[in-house]
């Protein structure tokens, strides 16, 4: 026999051995299925027919089904489990179950397999797919006996959808709690402009449930600045249309034409809402009540204007006082004295105004402050004043201070304050049903007065101020015993104008 024949003989022997082996296996019942060629390809004939319905169930069920040996080896897996793992079946059967579980879950799997030997157990696990991503599953395991092999049956259910639903539900709850807590208007609208969610505060402020209503009907807007918003008109429809079309807005001032909210100002922000596929699904709007803030701003603007007005007035007064003092002063030294004194009086007057916050001042306080430099603390009788409690508005403070200053300066130069023996008595009273004020300044004990004192600037100022700023009259009597001055003016009424016009107008 040559080599070829030898080889052919060996091949025949091998095939014969194989055939014998096959027949032997079938004869001894070592197989449980035969492969028979049918018209559509090979057909598997299970020798135990009763298994067919169960097999079909397991293959087609919507869960993963596994048979696992007690040591964790996968003996069988259905296609669904393989799909769950993104793996081919051949790579699963025969491998340990732990291969397909997230590493940190290994102890859990071991525990599951250990417990399932005696009873049914369930556990949530994370499986690791072929691409290393995780899939959350519920594994239900129980004992299974295949002949004399103790194995475990596992049914594995994909929980991805459920976890997603849980996440969605949690997000919903979170959004809802934000809406509960928000203290301002927060509204969510759908694409048709209908309100689908509203903060609790919004419903309370509007007094009616707003869910389901059109935004433009529930919240009729009145935009403050149409140009700023870049919309065609000030109505809610135009604004909402712009937002739903994809535009975002921040800090738009608006009012709301609703009985509960008239007179209130709001700051509004709005933006479109998109779903996972980037389709517009509606919009969200928030409105914050800024009425108080706006009022504060307006008040501040008014105050600044008022302040400006007063400062200008004062500058005018100082200018005219300087000019007049200068033209009535024989020397620069005399000017300095005179001007200094008058400036100080104005300054002190403003101290008082600041102290009373430009409100009302007690006349006695004003008098005390003006005459303080001239009173000798040891001899209280030098300066005495008395009168009923009298509150004067801010606009009377500077005029009166200036008058008192002139009278005092005069007294210091020629009158009661120029000698030790001199005394001043200042009294005031209310006349004619509290509508008129009368002040009387009486100097006694000073040097005898001689000459004409009416031409001095000081006396002119006194007359002018009383006349123009306080709408009254000043009578100065230079009696030989001393000056007696009577000031009469109507009780001033607060008008918020600050300084009188006379002081600003004194010019020559």
């Amino acid at each position: 026999m040559d080599e070829d024949q030898e080889f052919e003989l060996d091949e025949l022997r091998r095939r014969l051995a194989e055939a014998e082996e096959t027949l032997r296996a079938i004869y001894h019942g070592a197989v449980d299925a035969l492969v028979v060629r049918g018209p559509d390809g090979p057909q598997i004939f299970t020798l135990r027919g009763a298994q067919e319905p169960y097999r079909a169930l397991v293959e087609r069920m919507n869960e993963g089904a596994l048979t696992v040996a007690p040591d964790g080896t996968i003996l069988y897996s259905n296609r669904h489990f393989a799909d769950l793992l993104g793996c081919s079946l051949e790579r699963i059967i025969g491998k340990p179950l732990a291969t397909f579980v997230a590493p940190h879950e290994s102890p859990a799997v071991e525990a599951l397999l250990a417990d399932a030997g005696g009873r049914s157990v369930r556990r949530e696990l994370a499986l690791m797919r072929a691409d290393s991503s995780m899939v959350p599953v519920l594994a239900a395991a129980g004992p299974l006996v295949i002949d004399d092999i103790a194995a475990l049956l596992l049914i594995v259910t994909d929980l991805t959808a459920q976890k997603h639903s849980e996440e969605v539900a949690a997000a919903e709850r979170f959004a809802r709690s934000i809406l509960e807590q928000a203290t301002d208007f927060v509204l969510v609208c759908d694409r048709a402009g209908r309100i689908t969610k509203a903060s609790w505060a919004a419903e309370r402020l509007l007094d009616v449930p707003v869910i389901g209503q059109l935004f433009s009907e529930a919240m009729p807007l009145d935009l403050a600045d149409v140009g700023q918003a870049g919309v065609p008109d000030a109505s809610a429809d135009a604004f909402l249309a712009a937002v739903l079309a994809g535009k975002s807005f921040h800090g738009i001032e608006t009012r709301i034409r609703h009985d509960n909210l008239s007179g209130r100002h709001f700051l509004m922000s709005a933006g479109p809402l998109y779903d996972n596929e980037a389709h517009g699904v509606g919009c969200i709007l928030t409105l914050t009540d800024i009425t108080d803030r706006k009022r504060a701003e307006e008040h501040q603007t008014t105050l600044i204007a008022e302040l400006n007005h007063r400062v200008k007035n004062i500058l005018a007064v100082v200018q005219s006082v300087a000019w007049q003092t200068l033209s009535n002063s024989a020397s620069l030294a005399a000017f300095k004295d005179g001007f200094d004194g008058r400036l100080k009086a104005i300054s002190l007057a403003h101290d008082v105004l600041t102290q009373i916050r430009w409100g009302h001042v007690d006349l006695e306080r004003l008098v005390a402050q003006s005459l303080a430099p001239y009173g000798d603390p040891q001899r209280k009788a030098k300066v005495a004043w008395s009168g009923p409690r009298l509150l004067l508005p801010a606009k009377a403070v500077v005029p009166l201070s200036m008058v008192l200053h002139e009278l005092s300066t005069n007294a210091a130069k020629y009158g009661a304050f120029s000698t030790k023996a001199g005394r001043l008595a200042l009294t005031w009273q209310l006349l004619d049903n509290d509508t008129n004020v009368q002040l009387t300044w009486t100097e006694r004990g000073g040097p005898p007065l001689v000459g004409d004192h009416h031409a001095g600037f000081g006396t002119k100022l006194i007359s002018r101020v009383i006349a123009y700023d306080l709408h009254g009259q000043a009578d100065l009597h230079f009696e030989p015993e001393g000056l007696r001055c009577t000031l009469a003016f109507p009780m001033p009424v607060e008008s918020g104008q600050g300084l009188g016009p006379a002081l600003a107008r004194i010019r020559r």
Partner: protein, 101 residues
């Protein structure tokens, strides 16, 4: 890890094996268990075993000219071998695969 988890047991070469079973049936389940155990004990680290469920991939039966299941086919090392049954007779299986126990 068997005591034979060395090169000697595996003849220093790698085994490519395919086990064809029919789903969940009794002999198939046994065959899977037996074969995996044998491979781990005698061929640890030197084998590539694929288990094919003929119910789910019946077309592969024709490819390998299968007649019955379970069937274990050794593709490598040469020569190819076909073993039929539930593989519970370890000695027979090892001999058939050419593995010296």
């Amino acid at each position: 890890m068997g005591s034979h988890a060395n090169d000697t047991g595996a003849n220093g070469r790698d085994y490519v094996l395919q086990l064809f079973v029919t789903g969940h049936t009794e002999k198939s389940v046994r065959a899977v268990r037996n074969v995996t155990r044998l491979c781990e004990q005698h061929l640890h680290g030197h084998y590539d075993l694929k288990v094919v469920d003929l119910y789910q991939q019946p077309e592969l039966a024709a490819e390998h000219q299968l007649v019955a299941a379970p069937t274990l086919i050794k593709t490598l090392p040469f020569p190819p071998r076909k073993l039929i049954g539930d593989m519970s007779d370890s000695r027979r299986v090892l001999a058939g695969l050419g593995i010296v126990a």
